[in-house]
Amino acid sequence: MTMSEKILARASGRDAVRPGDLVLGKVDFAMGHDLTIPPAGKIMREQMGAQKVWDVDRMAVVQDHFQPAKDIASAGLGKMTREFAREMGVKWYFEVGQGGICHTVLPERGLVLPGELVVGADSHSCTYGALNNFATGIGSTDLACVMALGELWFRVPESLRFVYHNQLAEWVEAKDLILHVIGQIGVDGARSKAMEHTGEAIARIDMEGRLTMTNMAIEAGAKNGIIGFDKITREFLDGRAQRGYTPVASDPDAEYERTFEFDAAAVPITLAKPMSPDHTAPIDEVAGTRLDQVFIGSCTNSKIGDLRRAAAVLKGRHVAPWVRLIITPSSAQVAREAEREGLIGIFMDAGAGWTVATCGACLGGHMGVVGAGEVCLSTSNRNFPGRMGDPTAQVYLSNPVVAAASAVAGEIIHPKEVVGRELVAV
């Protein structure tokens, strides 16, 4: 069996499962946020008739999408979310200013662990699979079912194996690699399937980069993204894991529907052009595109390493005239660390706007919504029409170094043209 199959087999109390099987799986951890808890809580209590959450220690509720409340209606959603968590006694409740974006918060607090079955009422819940678990996004009625029963129905997915030979070239990051893959297979290339990443390049990508890769599994339509357990996983979890855990590995004779092989060394800096994550292009093709806004943020690319690299570009430089740069850290811990390292001062000196940790501009919520016809370069995960604001806005996706350099140039640019031969850490 593949590691995804092993996790679903264990969670459903079976010796083995096969792709296509429908199973009832016991959930190890569940998450909801300010857009999904209000309906899920209502469905659970008023329609399903359940009065408590199955296990308050295995549930997180995060205020991140439209919080701090962007208007009166979202204040109402935040309030319902808060009251639900409080009344249920949810152990892992993250208030504005103390959590951040759910998909950064759960891994950094050691709440989602190897071998586990994790669900989140948010499509990017597939992020957690970098930590060797089966994690997938679900809807609000799904979440209500999990909260009521601790179980949910799953169709065992076919697994696709992605093998990355060699190492990424200079300037090329995990973001470029996953955009390149999505460009090759399309936004439905892994529809409802498991994306298992392996190979030499993965062994050398740090946990932040791995989380970026599994985060975007959904942009290929995948059910989950998953990576094997290794030294990098163990070191990330040491002193962090909230429970004991049992890693899983795919068997040598595991069956894959298909194996894709890539030469990681040949992958260029890759961006997604408007208006789809699979509409990818190497940087040379889009260089020179004039920008109105640059957004460094989201669960995909706004962790401390991302901010350090952005700061290395922005130190001593300034955002181009008539361009705005918005930097949104992905969690309170990331923000605290950025403050400690002096990164926030660098950003402010460069003329960037620094915000509280929130999903914010990524989903066109607040703090960076783009207007009609505007061109935006974003480090987030998807650029379907209207995702970040007006449906006629043109959104490009890139890694944070390209985003920072392009903010300085006022147009999409190869970062080496801004910083010289190599990136010097701040």
């Binding site: 429908l22 857009l35 999904t36 209000p38 309906p39 209502k42 469905i43 329609q47 399903m48 008739g49 359940a50 999408h65 439209f66 208007d71 209606a73 979202s74 109402g76 959603l77 009422a121 948010d122 499509s123 819940s125 996004g137 679900i138 809807g139 609000s140 009625t141 799904d142 209500a144 079912c145 009521a148 029963l149 129905w153 169709r155 936004v187 439905d188 529809r191 409802s192 959904i218 339509g221 059910k223 208006m275 789809s276 989903l363 066109g364 919520g365 998807r382 379907f384 029409p385 209207g386 995702r387 449906p391 006629t392």
Partner: protein, 177 residues
């Protein structure tokens, strides 16, 4: 739920994502199906808004591959249902949209044949039990892919809510026994 549905077809292309089905800004109306319905499909480029005003109750949405990709927002199928659409037929569905539709008891059908052939405005009749779509305008008939029994059962029961109620009842009975 009626086993035979009749209505006019409204067609869409490939990879229509949840931001096009219901833009995130309307997520503030998460608990108001009618309000969501008023804004259904509003984010589709070229759709001049007010799409749902043209819908007669029972009309049928027909789309290309990967319908409903993107966000996990359950308000996507809820908005479509709120607009008056009775069933969605697509070449294929993105998985969370698929789950959400089944969980809320909203009928969806996978039929690459229909997705390819149906034109906007065609008069359709759908026999949910037989999994057959009849096109009166074109005088044609299309087959639908069969879903696993459990999913059909969920749709027939009215979604995941009655199923969970049943499970909870069984658990309570077991605890008392």
């Amino acid at each position: 739920m009626k086993a035979v549905l009749r209505g006019r077809a409204w067609t869409f292309g490939a990879n229509v994502d949840t931001d096009q089905i219901i833009p995130a800004k309307y997520a503030i109306y998460s608990l108001d199906e009618k309000k969501l319905g008023e804004h259904a499909m509003e984010g589709v480029p070229g759709n001049d808004g007010g799409w749902s005003q043209k819908i007669s109750a029972g009309d049928i949405l027909v789309a290309g591959p990967n319908f409903g990709c993107g966000s996990s927002r359950e308000i996507a199928p809820i908005a479509i249902r709120g607009s008056g659409i009775s069933v969605v037929v697509a070449d294929s569905f993105a998985r969370i949209f698929f789950r959400n539709s089944i969980n809320i008891g909203f009928p969806i059908l996978q039929s690459p044949q229909a997705a390819e052939a149906v034109k906007e405005g065609d008069e359709l009749e759908i026999d949910l039990d037989a999994g057959v779509i009849r096109n009166f305008t074109q005088g044609d008939e299309y087959k639908c892919d069969a879903f696993p029994d459990f999913m059909n059962e969920l749709i027939k029961m009215g979604g995941l809510v009655p199923w969970v109620r049943k499970q909870l009842k069984e658990r309570r009975q077991k605890a008392h026994a």
